[in-house]
């Protein structure tokens, strides 16, 4: 089995309605979502989506409800059929797959974690964890050890005999994750996997996911409506609005250079000190200026540097990565980076609202 799988989505369109192909021509002719709805009674789900999801990375697709993010993730395993476009998994267009090949793909290449867990209520935790394997035709003896191992790994050791309803929401989602991991598929699709959990447990689960990812290097597609979560998890962040990709790229990059009022509006409320990393605001210079106050790691958050400096803006630090010095960080520059982009004043928020009206 291929340990690394990449997914690329090219020119993907999805239109809901009775005659999607006819409506597609209008959309290609430049018609927007609202006009398509009022004039042709078709819903534009996704419009001209191009995303490259690299193997071993977490791609987070973020957007508000109705932005088409859940529709998009369901195209990757063809729970929803696109109106037009291509979906390549490891270079193969899965839209050409017949029923049998598609089933093989879903069984062996992909696993999925759901917002509302979607566990089988009449099966034990162990049976749920082994579901993907038993669907493939493995008998219990073959997957029991694996399933127990992953349950142990996600913190559910000793609960194999319980039923899902006996567990709390967070624990049920751990079963969901164990189920996806036991399937041993290289691609994991996570549809708002942590959205139904309360904040503390959500943070726990995010940490668990990052920890597992460091070890497993799976290709993860993660859907979220929560920007903090998206920034924490993403290697590659895709921001959707009304079925269109507004911006995609490295999260730090998007945060520092938002290219759309919508995104500016979005990022104006977050705690930048916790999200931004030293590497994003440092000056790249092989030689540090004299009189630095110490060393910081390139991946440290600005928050931790502020704590280190005790609030003194006169200092600067050497920035190191893997033992080598890669640049230096001026505290004044750090503080400036904490101010949201100029455009992100209330006026901008107001103007985006009037635009959308």
């Amino acid at each position: 089995m291929d340990k690394n799988a990449s997914i690329s989505i090219c020119n993907l369109y999805k239109i809901f309605g009775t005659q999607p192909l006819k409506a597609l021509e209008h959309v290609r002719g430049g018609m927007g979502k609202t006009e398509l709805m009022t004039r042709h009674r078709h819903v534009l789900g996704l419009s001209d989506i191009n995303v490259e999801m690299k193997a071993g990375e977490i791609t987070v697709i973020m957007g508000l409800s109705g932005s088409g993010k859940s529709t998009l993730i369901r195209h990757v395993n063809r729970l929803i059929e696109p109106t037009a476009g291509e979906i390549l998994v490891n270079g193969e267009n899965i839209l050409t797959f017949g029923e049998t090949r598609l089933r093989e793909l879903r069984r062996k290449q992909m696993s999925m974690v759901f917002q509302h867990f979607a566990l089988l209520p009449h099966k034990t935790v162990l049976d749920n964890a082994g579901m993907a394997r038993s669907v493939r035709g493995d008998d219990r003896a073959a997957y029991e050890e694996d399933a127990c191992g992953w349950l142990e790994r996600v913190g559910l050791g000793g609960q194999e005999g319980q039923y899902p309803h006996q567990l709390s929401g967070g624990m049920q989602q751990r079963v969901g994750i164990a189920r996806a991991l036991t399937s041993n598929a290289p691609i994991m699709l996570m549809d708002e996997a942590f959205s139904a959990l309360d904040p503390l447990i959500r943070t726990d689960m995010q940490d668990l996911l990052l920890e597992l990812q460091q070890e497993l290097q799976k290709t993860i597609v993660f859907i979220s409506h929560d920007l903090d979560e998206a920034l924490k998890l993403a290697d590659h962040l895709v921001i959707l609005k009304d079925g269109i990709i507004v911006q995609q790229g490295e999260p730090q990059e998007i945060l520092l250079n938002p290219n759309d009022p919508y995104i500016v509006d979005f990022i104006s409320d977050i705690n930048r000190a916790r999200v931004l990393r030293v590497r994003s605001v440092m000056d790249v210079a092989p030689v540090a200026p004299p009189q630095t106050a110490g060393k910081v790691d390139a991946d440290a958050t600005l928050e931790s540097v502020i704590a280190l400096s005790g609030g003194d803006t006169a200092l600067s630090y050497e920035v190191h990565r893997a033992g080598a010095q890669v640049g230096y960080l001026n505290m004044q520059k750090l503080v400036r980076a904490l101010v949201p982009t100029q455009a992100a004043q209330n006026g901008m928020r107001h103007s985006t609202r009037t635009n959308s009206d």
Binding site: N77, E104, R106, M112, F114, A118, L119, P121, H122, V135
Partner: protein, 350 residues
Amino acid sequence: MAAYDFVFDGLGLREWCDRDASPGPMSMADLLARGAGGQAEKSWMESLWELPFPSLDALNQACPAIARSRDLTRGLEQSFLNVRDPLRVVLDPITQPLSWALENALHVFTSTPWWIMLPLLLLLVWVASRSWTLMGFVGGALAFLLFVDHYTFAMQTMSIIFVCAFLCVLFGVPIGIAMSRSNTMQRLTIPVLDMLQTLPTFVYLIPLIFLFSVTEPKLYGIAIILYAIVPVIRLTDLGIRLVDKDVIEAAEAFGMTRHQKLVRVQIPLALPNIMAGVNQTIMMSLAMVVIASLVSAPGLGVLVLRGIRNLELGVGLMAGLGIVLLAIILDRVTKAALARVNAASSVPRH
């Protein structure tokens, strides 16, 4: 002089109407009219007031070539009689096993000595409900029936219900599954189910009496099954359609085939609803088995019928009490089984 003469006169159809006019038997109304003496000319107001709806009978008065409604019912009967023989050739062999099953069940239930039957039934109650109280109640009720010498009748009724309810589940669940899978199938089936449920129970019996001999058990077997199969079909369909969409989506995302989805997800999750359907089916079989005693179904219904025919109040009341006891037993036991199924998805099974 009929109200609609003018229509046929106006259309120039008078000749066609009277071509082979052989006036039917004179009705009482005609006779009375003749007896009343010469027809006084009515004013147009009067004739308008008395204008009948152009029904078959009214039109027939004006034009004998048009059939009367009596001919319509006779025609229905005649056409049924015409297809009866070919229908019998097909239906007789297909339904024969039902007769055998009913005969054998009746034989087994009534010829097994009470001291074997009673513990067996109580064991069944225990397996289904795991409740000592319920077992005690069933034991008491059956002992009472034995004591007042209604046991044999009760067992006959019970055996018919067992056979018919079993067959209802055997056919009803697959039909329900098919309905849940296809909207077309659902659209086609629902009117039939509605008809089966609303058709007065006696009306079922009429065509069946023409089709089969009244001495054959399958006659009442079919009537009971047709009447009682509806809830199990409906609730199977409903139960499967109500299965959590998220879980179905998960099943698809992990690559389940249609069959895997049905067996591993849909049926287990629909089981509470299916069991509720089985409970309803059993209760409706009991209701029908009493009526079916009109067409020679043995059991407590025969006693009820005797009570009505001979005005033997006591016989009717005792048999009625027996039926109520059976109804309570069947309902409580199936409800207890249903509760266990419900609990199975919320309490661990070991």
